[in-house]
């Protein structure tokens, strides 16, 4: 069925023949297949392949009075929802977000007012349930105007908690506590992002290391990997403990912290070549770490667009100059050493 088609192929979105997409079945139990899929998603395998078929699902044995929850067509989102509703009867309405999570899809508008209204119609939700309330994940709010949904579908949007794991407490209390409404970024959430960060940076790091080793500089291969590990592994882990607010500044500090012992251990010789070697190391590698740290802004639930723009305009030229100057200094020092040898 095409994106703009109604249930009978009409493009108006109305359902003249009262046919509806039959509801599918979902369980709250996660199987080993689900866990393998989650692992693959976290490792960045088949990035757009973790999709859930859009439409209405029955969880356990829902009646017309059972609550309706909306979710994204992404396995990690849908599985978080259904597993948190263990032991409860519910209707789950999956929007077509093309394998993207709730938050990102809401930002793009695919988890949005139009798609929600369309799915309510396609599933004939009004014919399945006797009430007119649909519970949405709070992080879907950037894409969904609750007022427009009510006007267009008759369904009242109730904002659920940020985390699906809080749903049982939310349902039992009848409302979200202030803590349930706040987004957090605990160690576990930061650590699970590391594999994808590494997958982005490692091809470049390994290529650079291979070139360095080819020219007989295994020590440089080591510093390449050290600066990349600092930006993609240490930075996410240490994020709340780093002193500055700006990611680039924290990345520079972290980069200095890991490269300083290497420089202090020596290896660049004496005199001006040694100074050049030390200066080159202290300029180039922290700049690499800082760039990776700046790129981590997109993974956090904190950074604003205008703030990131300001960071880029403040620091990009500085770290680019540091990298270029540092690389030139290192190259000169190594050329000199090569000439001496």
């Amino acid at each position: 069925m095409g994106l703009d088609e109604g249930c009978c192929g009409s493009t108006t979105g109305t359902c003249a023949c009262r046919q509806r997409e039959p509801a599918m079945t979902a369980t709250a139990d996660l199987t080993w297949r689900d866990y393998i899929d989650h692992l693959a998603a976290r490792l960045g395998f088949d990035r757009s392949g973790h999709r859930v078929r859009p439409g209405l699902y029955r969880l356990n044995n829902p009646s017309p009075e059972s609550p309706v929850f909306a979710s994204a067509g992404y396995t990690l989102s849908f599985d978080a929802l259904r597993s948190s509703l263990a032991g409860r009867d519910a209707w789950l309405l999956v929007l077509d977000t093309m394998g993207i999570n709730v938050w990102c899809a809401a930002g793009k508008g695919t988890f949005g007012t139009d798609e929600l209204v369309r799915r309510i119609r396609l599933a004939d939700l009004a014919g399945q349930v006797s009430h007119r309330t649909i519970i949405l994940p709070q992080l879907g709010a950037p894409g969904v105007s609750a007022r427009s949904v009510a006007q267009q579908s008759g369904f009242h949007v109730r904002w659920g908690p940020v985390r699906a794991a809080d749903l049982p407490a939310f349902l039992d209390a009848g409302e979200a506590s202030p803590a349930m409404r706040r987004v957090t970024f605990p160690l576990r959430d930061r650590i699970v992002l590391i594999p994808v960060e590494l997958a982005h940076a490692l091809p470049y790091a390994l290529a650079a290391s291979a070139v360095a080793i080819f020219f007989g500089h295994a020590d440089i291969a080591g510093t390449v990997l050290l600066s990349v590990a600092a930006g993609t592994v240490l930075f996410p882990v240490l994020l709340p403990y780093l002193p500055a607010k700006d990611y680039t500044v924290n990345g520079l500090l972290l980069g200095f912290a890991v490269i300083t012992p290497v420089v202090a251990a020596g290896g660049g010789g004496t005199g001006w070549p040694g100074l050049l070697w030390a200066g080159g190391n202290l300029l180039l590698w922290p700049a690499i770490t800082a760039f990776l740290a700046l790129n981590f802004t997109g993974c956090t639930p904190f950074t604003s667009r205008s703030g990131v723009k300001l960071e880029i305009s403040r620091y990009m030229r500085i770290i680019a100059a540091m990298a270029a100057g540092g690389a030139a200094a290192l190259a000169l020092a190594l050329l000199h050493a090569g000439g001496m040898a």
């Binding site: 960045g44 990035r47 757009s48 977000t97 093309m98 394998g99 993207i100 999570n101 990102c104 899809a105 809401a106 930002g107 793009k108 695919t110 709070q138 992080l139 709010a141 950037p142 894409g143 969904v144 105007s145 609750a146 007022r147 904002w159 940020v162 979200a176 202030p178 409404r181 706040r182 987004v183 994808v196 982005h200 500055a244 607010k245 700006d246 990611y247 500044v249 700046l294 790129n295 802004t297 997109g298 993974c299 956090t300 639930p301 904190f302 950074t303 604003s304 667009r305 205008s306 703030g307 990131v308 723009k309 300001l310 960071e311 880029i312 403040r314 990009m316």
Partner: protein, 97 residues
Amino acid sequence: MFDSYRTTTLRYDRDACIFCRACLQVCPHAVFAAGPGHVQLAAAERCMECGACAVNCPANAISVDSGVGCANALIRGAVTGKETCGCCGDDEGNSCC
């Protein structure tokens, strides 16, 4: 110094607020707080410019230049004109998150 996030494009018109509290529910950073008769802008510096409050404010009391706070996407946007890092789903349907 070293805090680029003091800036925000969030604008709140207290006189227009009808105290429906929708913004209190959708904001993931408690930027707004319930005040007497209207909501108050409690912590604008925590705003990540997601736009949820503005989209859900029936009185149009809130405006914000929303978008992704992602350096990768913004740098690519400056270079290629297409503001995406591929992470949150690009036109080809690829994604990492």
